[in-house]
């Protein structure tokens, strides 16, 4: 474990904070709770449309308004999607029951939320991150969403408001709450976790997972501890994280806040804190007179849920290939390491199918992925004929065109769909004759005797610099058509001959 002697975050697995005061090194421990709105046609317990953005209070009925006498009936598709998501996260699907979480708030039509408490539907799963970390998933349970309050009057922010207006369109929308174990150690890693989760949600079609529309909401449980200390520190829950950027910034801020407190001898108060994006800090929630007591008990208006083994098997059989598996497959086919950026980015951009086909068509795996990573993004890319990419890479490795030339050819290929040979010929990209190249190199050597002297006899550092001088001069003389590797080979040979 590397020690960082400043407060600057290091690129790497762990985010470490070193105290100016004591020199102690602290690490952060983060567990994320993610709520996703499920992409069903209707709400969790009634047939009202599950739609974002409609006119207020138009998608409501006695059930989701919690009118006296109303009763909930569970949506089949919610169970299907919840199980699909659970299995995609490697959870065990268990018989489960619903429970009431009792508290008063005006966006709650019944002043209790129907959720799952001691017997949730999905338990004990995990999520593999691209960097190889396995983040445990404690549970992923079903619960209902609340309505929406809009604050009016005053400053518009909750503390200055004169009154509020409530819209119950969102009340009763089905949610799955995914509780991750505290296995995250870096703000960037938290963002990657969310990206990975979102990819799974999209692949399973369980949710459209849009943070900006509220169909994906993230709360972060953050604590700190001295490196080497096995015990977990007291954590704070950070809410109001509306983007990945906020997530990263908030984790970083909160962990430093906690370290500062603990270093000055204070204790962390276990509380909910809110992220203030504008001010770049977390703030304690309004202190309540009493701690909330949710008085959970089994929901008597619903019966237990025990999905059949057949249903679970059908879900398993229909699971799409998930990002982690796609990375495994691509790494195997390309020979590139599973945590390397080539693999990660290719899958992230949904270009792995293309890459696999290009490799199957004869293209070198590493070279193909390098092209995807650096040269393929944006519109139209996915329609590229993979065999063309395979060919291009073959030409490159045969020395027919240089890397720089290949980039240009590729850009053209994406647009026109022509073969690399045709494009290269049109652009005049052809391999230079070796003797012609040697002649040019020799000419430049002759013209620069001092530099040549330095290149042959200088130390590694000097030689490296002068190599750049010679290669650059050759490139200029050949208008970029020389292959850098070939030039280096010739320079080396001449130097050996001279010594």
């Amino acid at each position: 474990m590397s020690l960082n002697l400043t407060h600057e975050p290091i690129e790497g697995e762990h985010f470490l904070i070193t105290s100016d005061l004591t020199g102690d090194v602290w690490e952060i421990v983060v567990g994320l709770e993610v709520h996703c709105e499920l992409a069903t046609v209707t709400k969790l317990f009634c047939g009202c449309p599950n739609m974002f953005g409609d006119e207020p209070n138009t998608n409501v009925c006695p059930v989701c308004l919690g009118l006296p006498g109303s009763l909930p009936v569970l949506n089949h598709q919610v169970v299907e999607l919840a199980m699909r998501l659970g299995r995609a996260l490697h959870c065990s699907v268990e018989p489960s029951v619903f429970a009431r979480k009792n508290y008063f708030y005006p966006d709650m039509p019944k002043d209790y939320q129907v959720s799952q408490f001691d017997r949730p539907i999905n338990v004990d799963g995990w999520l593999d991150l691209p960097d190889g970390t396995r983040v445990g998933i404690e549970r992923a349970h079903i619960e209902e969403d609340t309505g929406k309050n809009t604050h009016a009057g005053g400053s518009g922010r909750i503390h200055g408001a004169d009154y509020s207006l409530v819209d119950y369109n969102r009340a009763g929308v089905p949610l799955v709450e995914i509780v991750g174990r505290p296995h995250i150690r870096h703000p960037e890693q938290a963002k990657v976790y969310i990206d990975e989760l979102r990819a799974i949600l999209l692949a399973t079609e369980a949710s459209d997972a849009k943070m900006e529309e509220g169909s994906l909401r993230v709360d972060a449980n953050v604590s700190v501890r001295r490196v080497g200390d096995p015990a977990l520190g007291r954590r704070c829950e950070v809410k109001n994280l509306n983007s990945l950027r906020s997530l990263g910034r908030a984790i970083e801020y909160e962990s430093r806040r906690q370290v500062d407190l603990l270093e000055s001898g204070e204790t962390i108060k276990q509380e909910t804190r809110h992220w203030d994006e504008g001010a770049g800090r977390t703030r304690a929630g309004r202190s309540k007179e009493e701690a909330e007591d949710y008085r959970y008990f089994q929901e008597p208006d619903l019966v237990p849920l025990a999905p059949s083994a057949e249903w679970i098997a059908a879900i398993d059989a229909a699971l799409p290939v998930l990002p982690a598996q796609r990375r495994v497959d691509l790494a195997a086919a390309s020979g590139v390491g599973i945590t390397e950026t080539g693999v990660v980015i290719t899958v992230q951009r949904d270009l792995d199918t293309l890459a696999l086909a290009a490799i199957a068509a004869g293209g070198d795996g590493r070279r193909v992925l390098t092209h995807v990573e650096h040269n393929l993004s944006g519109e139209g890319v996915v329609d590229l004929d993979p065999s063309l990419l395979g060919n291009l890479v073959q030409l490159e490795l045969a020395g027919q065109i240089t890397a720089t030339q290949a980039k240009t050819v590729l850009a053209d290929m994406v647009v026109t769909g022509r073969t690399p040979e045709v494009i290269a010929a049109e652009l005049g990209f052809e391999a230079m004759d070796t003797s012609e190249l040697e002649g040019i190199v020799d000419g430049i050597i002759a013209d620069s005797p001092d530099e040549w002297e330095g290149y042959c006899s200088g130390d590694d550092k000097r030689r490296g610099k002068l190599q750049g001088f010679f290669v650059g001069a050759v490139m200029k003389a050949t208008k970029g058509q020389a292959d850098g590797k070939a030039v280096n080979a010739i320079l080396d040979a001449r130097r050996s001959a001279a010594s």
């Binding site: 708030y105 005006p106 004169d162 009154y163 509020s164 207006l165 809110h274 237990p304």
Partner: protein
């Protein structure tokens, strides 16, 4: 008891609190026979019915008339239910 009243959003006078405390104590006393039982091996029955897996199809059914519902609301503004200032965040 005053904590319980707060959780239940009820305001009780001191006299009422006293009366309720006494009455509840009497009931709880009566329930002491229950509290004294050793039921470690007995599973709870949350429900008298042995039914499981009641599900409905993911199909839209008619909502309720918004105006009919809003007409019953104590205070409405802009097609929404109006409430006084909300202090404190959602738990």
């Amino acid at each position: 008891m005053s904590k319980v009243a707060l959780l239940a959003r009820l305001e009780l006078t001191d006299a009422e609190l006293d009366t309720y405390t006494d009455q509840l104590a009497a009931i709880i006393d009566h329930a002491a026979d229950v509290a004294a039982l050793d039921l470690a091996d007995v599973p709870p029955t949350a429900h008298p019915l042995p039914i499981e897996n009641v599900l409905r199809p993911d199909v839209v059914t008619p909502s309720v008339d918004r105006d009919e519902v809003l007409s019953q609301a104590p205070s409405v503004e802009d097609r929404r239910f109006r409430v006084p200032a909300i202090l404190g965040e959602e738990p």
